[in-house]
Amino acid sequence: MEIFLQQIINGVTLGSIYGLIAIGYTMVYGIIGMVNFAHGDVFMLSAFIALLLLLLLTQMLGLAAAPAFVAAMVASMALTALWNYAIERVAYRRLRSSFRLAPLISAIGMSTFLANFVTVTQGPNNKSIPPMWDDVIKITSGGAYDVTLSYKQILIVAVTGALLAAFWFVVQKTALGRAQRACEQDAKMAALLGVDVNRTVALTFVIGAALAAVAGSLYLLQYGVVKSSDGFVPGVKAFTAAVLGGIGSLPGAVLGGLLIGLIETLWGQYFSSDYKDVAAFSVLAITLIFMPSGLMGRPDVEKV
C-alpha cells in the first residue's frame, strides 16, 4: 500500500512533466496539423541550457541554489523559445503547403540535428548536478516504508497546474487564442480575415518551447541528470500523452501526461521496470489504432 501511494506520487510528478511537453505537441498539431517530432529534443536542449545557466550562476556569480534555479529556468524559457522560433522559421515555415509528409520528415531531420548538436557541443555522457532542495514531507511513517512527498514534487505539480490554467485563459480569452483557433479551423480563411498566420504559428512554437523549457528545468531539478539522448524517449512519451488525451486538446494533453506518468511508474513497479517503456509505446500504438481522437479530442471525418 505504501509503495503504491509512493508510486502514485512519483507518477503524478513525472506525468506533470510529460503534460507540459505534451502541450507543445498538441498546440502545434492543432494549428498546423504537424507532428513536431523535434519537440522532445527541444525539451532536452532546454534542460541543457538550464543546466549550463545554473552552473554559470552558482559557480561564476556565486548565487544561492534556489534563486539561481529560478533565474536559470526563466532564462532557459526565453532562449529555448528563441531556438524554437528559429527552428520553425528555418525548418517548417516553407513546408506548410508542401506535400503532406514533408514537415514530418523535416522535423525528424531537425530532431536528429538537435540531438547530435548537443552531443557534439556537450559530449554524450550524463551530466548530473548535485541534489538540491531535498526536503520532504513524510506522509506516512512507521510502516515498512515511509511515503514521502518532496517540496520539489509539490512545486512541479503546482507549476504545471498554474501554467495549464494560464494557458486555458490565453486560448479561451485572448486575441492570440482566437487567432489560433481560427488557423486551426481554416488557415486560408483566417488569413483572408486578417489573421497573421505566420505570427500566430510562430507564437505557438514560442509558447510550446517555453513550456518545454519549464519541463526541462523541472526534470533537471527532480532527477538531477540529463544527457543528449534524453530527448527521444520522453518526447515520444509526451507525444503519446498528447494523443491519449486527444490531440488538439490542452486539458487532454495534461490528462494524458498524468496517465502516461502513472502507467509508467506503476508498470515499472509491479510488472517489470525493464519493460516500462514498452508500456508507454504500446499505449501509443493502441490509442492511435483504436482511438485516434483520444480521450478528449473531437473525432474527425476526413473531408472528401
Binding site: 514537415p103 536528429t112 540535428f113 557534439v120 559530449g123 517503456d277 472528401v304
Partner: protein, 433 residues
C-alpha cells in the same frame, strides 16, 4: 534602390542573424559542462568558438542577402538532369571490378578494410535504401521503424542457423520472409491511419522490438547479443586457413580478404536483384498503384483500388529486403546486438532514401555511398582527433549533417528527383536526351 541601400539592408539582415545565432549559441556553445575529479560539473568557457559562430553567421547572411537581392532574383529554372545511358553499365562494371582492383593495388592485407567496410557495408545500406524506397519513396508510407525489420532478419539468422544447421543460402529467403511477415503483422493494424500517425506507430513498434531484444535474455542474450553462429562458406568450403578451407581448395594462399570478397559479390547480386524487382514492379499495376497511393489515396479508392492491400504489399516487400539485409549484416559482423538497430539506424536509412530523392534508385545508391562512406572516411582521418580532441566521433557529426541535410532537402527539393520523374510507360517517343 541604390547600391548603398542594398548593402545597408544586407548588413542589417546580417546583424539580426548574428544576434539570433548569439542567442542560440549562448550558453550551449559558449560553455561546456564537464565533470572534474570529484565528479562535480565544471564549466569550461569556449568564447572563441562562440564568436566564430557569430562571425560565420554574419558573413553567410550578409553574402546571402547581397546575392539573393541582386542578379539571382530571377527564378532559377530547375534543370532537368537525365541519367545518361552509359551510366548504368559503367557503374556496374566499376562495382564488379572494385574488390579485385583493390586487392591488386593494395595487396590482400590492406585491401580487407576497403572491401569490407567500404564495399560490403555500403552495399548493405544500398540494399536497405532500395528496400525502404519501396515503402517510403514509391508508396509514400513513412516507415520510421525500418531498423526493426533489419533486426528481425539479423536475429533470425543468428538464432535459426545454429539451431537448425541450415546454411545461409536457405536462410536468406527465410530471413526475408520472416521480416516480411512482421511487416505484414505490423502493417495490418496501422493501415487505416493517416500518414503521420502511421509513421509514429511504426516507430513505437520498432522501439518495442528493440526493448524486447534487450530484455529477453534467454533468447537474445540482451545487450551482449548473439555470436558464434555459423558464418559464411563458399559452397560448403569455410573461409579458414588449413587444408579444409576455401583457399587451400582452390590453391590460393589463405587471406582474410577472401570472405569479404565473396560476401561483396553476394550482396552485390542481391542488391542488383532488388533493383531489378523494384524497377520492374514500377511498370506493373502494383507499382503504379503504389505511386498512385503516394499521390492521392482518396483518388485511388475512387478507382476501386484496395488501398489496404496495396499498402500491405509495399510494407511487406520493403520489410523483405530489410530482412535479407539483416541476414547479410549478421554474416558480415559475426555477431548481432540490439545497439545496431536503434531509431538512429532507421533515421539513417530514411535519410538515405530522402536525400536520394525518394523514388530514384540511382539517387538512393549515391546517397548511401555518400552518407556511409563519407563518415567512415572521416573516421580514418586521425588528424581530426588532434583538432577536435580525443573523443571526436565523426558519426555524431555525420548525423548532425544528415539532420540538416534532411531539413534542407525538404525545404528546397521536397520531392527530390521525383519532380523530374520519368513516366513508367509512354505513348509518344522518348524525349531527346
Amino acid at each position: 534602390m541604390t547600391r548603398g541601400d542594398h548593402i545597408f539592408r544586407a548588413a542589417r539582415e546580417a546583424a539580426w542573424a548574428t544576434l539570433v545565432v548569439a542567442g542560440l549559441g549562448f550558453p550551449i556553445i559558449a560553455y561546456r559542462a564537464e565533470p572534474d575529479f570529484n565528479n562535480a560539473l565544471m564549466l569550461q568557457a569556449r568564447w572563441p568558438l562562440f564568436f566564430e559562430f557569430c562571425l560565420a553567421a554574419f558573413v553567410l547572411r550578409f553574402a546571402l542577402a547581397l546575392w539573393s537581392g541582386g542578379a539571382a532574383k530571377a527564378v532559377a529554372r530547375e534543370r532537368i538532369w537525365r541519367k545518361p545511358g552509359w551510366l548504368g553499365p559503367v557503374a556496374l562494371a566499376v562495382l564488379v571490378v572494385y574488390p579485385i582492383a583493390i586487392v591488386g593495388a593494395l595487396g590482400p592485407q590492406a585491401a580487407l578494410k576497403w572491401v569490407d567496410t567500404y564495399g560490403v557495408q555500403i552495399l548493405i545500406y544500398v540494399l536497405l535504401g532500395w528496400g525502404l524506397n519501396i515503402t517510403v519513396g514509391l508508396a509514400g508510407l513513412l516507415d520510421l521503424g525500418y531498423a526493426a525489420f533489419y533486426a528481425v532478419g539479423a536475429y533470425a539468422y543468428a538464432l535459426i542457423a545454429p539451431a537448425t544447421g541450415l546454411g545461409f543460402w536457405a536462410l536468406l529467403p527465410v530471413c526475408g520472409l520472416l521480416a516480411a511477415f512482421w511487416g505484414f503483422c505490423i502493417g495490418f493494424p496501422v493501415l487505416r491511419l493517416r500518414g503521420d500517425y502511421l509513421a509514429i506507430v511504426t516507430l513505437a513498434f520498432a522501439e518495442i522490438v528493440r526493448i524486447v531484444l534487450i530484455n529477453w535474455d534467454v533468447v537474445t542474450h540482451g545487450e551482449a547479443g548473439l555470436f558464434g553462429f555459423p558464418g559464411l562458406n563458399f559452397f560448403g568450403l569455410p573461409f579458414i586457413p588449413g587444408p579444409r578451407g576455401f583457399a587451400a581448395h582452390v590453391g590460393l594462399p589463405f587471406a582474410g580478404v577472401h570472405k569479404p570478397i565473396f560476401l561483396y559479390y553476394l550482396v552485390l547480386v542481391l542488391a542488383l536483384a532488388a533493383n531489378f524487382v523494384s524497377l520492374r514492379l514500377r511498370r506493373l499495376p502494383l507499382g503504379r498503384a503504389w505511386e498512385a497511393l503516394r499521390e492521392d489515396e482518396i483518388a485511388c479508392r475512387a478507382l476501386g483500388l484496395d488501398t489496404a492491400n496495396i499498402k500491405l504489399t509495399a510494407f511487406a516487400l520493403g520489410a523483405f529486403f530489410a530482412g535479407v539485409a539483416g541476414c547479410l549484416f549478421a554474416l558480415r559482423q559475426g555477431f548481432v546486438s540490439p545497439s545496431a538497430f536503434t531509431f538512429s539506424e532507421s533515421a539513417l536509412i530514411l535519410a538515405i532514401v530522402v536525400l536520394g530523392g525518394g523514388g530514384s534508385q540511382l539517387g538512393v545508391a549515391v546517397a548511401a555511398v555518400f552518407l556511409v562512406g563519407a563518415s567512415e572516411l572521416l573516421r580514418e582521418l586521425t588528424f581530426l582527433k588532434s583538432v577536435f580532441g580525443e573523443d571526436f566521433d565523426p558519426a555524431q557529426y555525420r548525423m548532425l549533417l544528415v539532420g540538416l541535410a534532411m531539413v534542407g532537402m525538404m525545404n528546397f527539393r521536397p520531392r527530390g528527383l521525383v519532380s523530374t520523374r520519368e513516366p513508367t510507360i509512354r505513348l509518344g517517343p522518348e524525349p531527346a536526351k
